[in-house]
Subunit: 239 residues, 2 copies
């Protein structure tokens, strides 16, 4: 194949591009709509079999240049969890101060998942990412984007399994990296609290707390260039 | 409620934390396993009805502090597409040079989706993101992470609908922002090529091209701290 010739789809091993059945499709949308960022956990356990399914789902995420910038540290030791929780509490206070007038509302939103969830996973990006230039020369943040896709896969799979998950990003990542004995150049992108929950929030918890609401979809869409309102017809109140 | 008291789940409107049926669960995993980063498109069209379902799926992604850092610019104008494609081609050459010995392999991997896909969507992060401190004071990249979750939702929904999608990150984001007349402080995180495809790659295209392979899952897992091999039993060759 010459460098000027684009390989066609038939150049590859393929599977048919058929849509899912309506029942399958509904299940995918159900996971997407019912997934919630959970802060309330019911203790209990996650079986290794289910945890493995969730981790495989994460590992099948897309990644730029197939760099797979995710490692998962499973934390069960109580002392480690308490150290992590202390880091979260420190940052909660500093974030509240930065929020000013909303400090009190923010402090009401407890983050107890690190102590209470059946499982805690730290998603750590490995060192040496600068070697991955494919799709990242001008956009180095594509490692974060790829790792976030892995987390979203895990989140949706957790919903399908009837488990809850919360993504905690309220900590100093450098302090957490040091605490977790992570090597130089690695980065703890997420603390994931995962496990049985009593129930899912029917709407996002932050919306129920009136912190913010989902925007109307029409405000998110433009045609051709920034700011040009999309012409696509949207049902009323589409969020 | 005092600031020292954590609201319980029953404080909220909830839905039952029941697992999906096995059929529903399988559908979610099927979408996760069969989703592919597509570079080959079959032209055609995407109906507004389907496009709306995909965009709503994206808009129901998690976002830190519910900041919803995503706007979608739908590009159908041929001249705009050609301008975007030219930016991608420029960066392809620069990336190839940066890759050195792998330059030739890289240049064989064409990126024609911007011209050939039924739909092209630019995911643009809006200006003013610095006001969102919730979960971002120490981790400002959480806007990128949130937007990536929206893209993963869209990707999985596209698989369920029988459509293909590719995420292009081979361009200078500042040049693209200028070309798309985006305001200062906004950022084009993704060019998404979306539409009918002849077939899906059975394994990731980059793996079939021997650019990289999926790592064994066991290399991705640690217990308690970085580098401590996970004890969880994994089936042989689990990727």
């Amino acid at each position: 194949m010459s460098a000027n010739e684009s390989p066609k789809t038939e150049h590859y091993q393929t599977i048919a591009a058929e849509p899912f059945t309506q029942m399958e499709r509904n299940a995918v949308y159900r996971a997407i709509y019912e997934r919630r960022d959970m802060r309330h956990f019911a203790g209990g356990t996650v079986s290794d079999e289910v945890l493995l399914r969730l981790l495989r789902a994460a590992h099948h995420a897309p990644s730029v240049g197939l760099m797979q910038p995710w490692r998962f540290i499973r934390v069960r030791d109580r002392a480690v969890r308490e150290g992590m929780h202390a880091l979260v509490e420190q940052e909660r206070v500093l974030t509240a101060q930065a929020l000013g007038v909303r400090a009190e509302d923010f402090m009401k939103l407890k983050v107890q998942g690190v102590l209470e969830a059946a499982e805690v996973l730290v998603l750590a990006m490995p060192p040496g990412r600068e070697a991955h230039v494919f799709g990242r020369r001008t956009m180095p943040e594509m490692d974060v984007a790829s790792a976030a896709c892995a987390i979203e896969n895990l989140w949706l799979a957790a919903r399908a399994e009837g488990l809850g998950m919360g993504w905690v990003s309220i900590y100093d990542p450098h302090a957490l990296a040091q605490f977790m004995q992570m090597p130089a150049g690695s980065y703890p992108l997420a603390v994931l609290c995962l496990g049985p929950v009593d129930a899912y929030y029917a709407q996002p918890m932050l919306q129920q707390e009136k912190w913010a609401s989902r925007a109307p979809l029409e405000d998110m869409l433009f045609d051709e260039q920034w700011g040009q309102k999309a012409k696509m017809a949207l049902p009323d109140d589409t969020a």
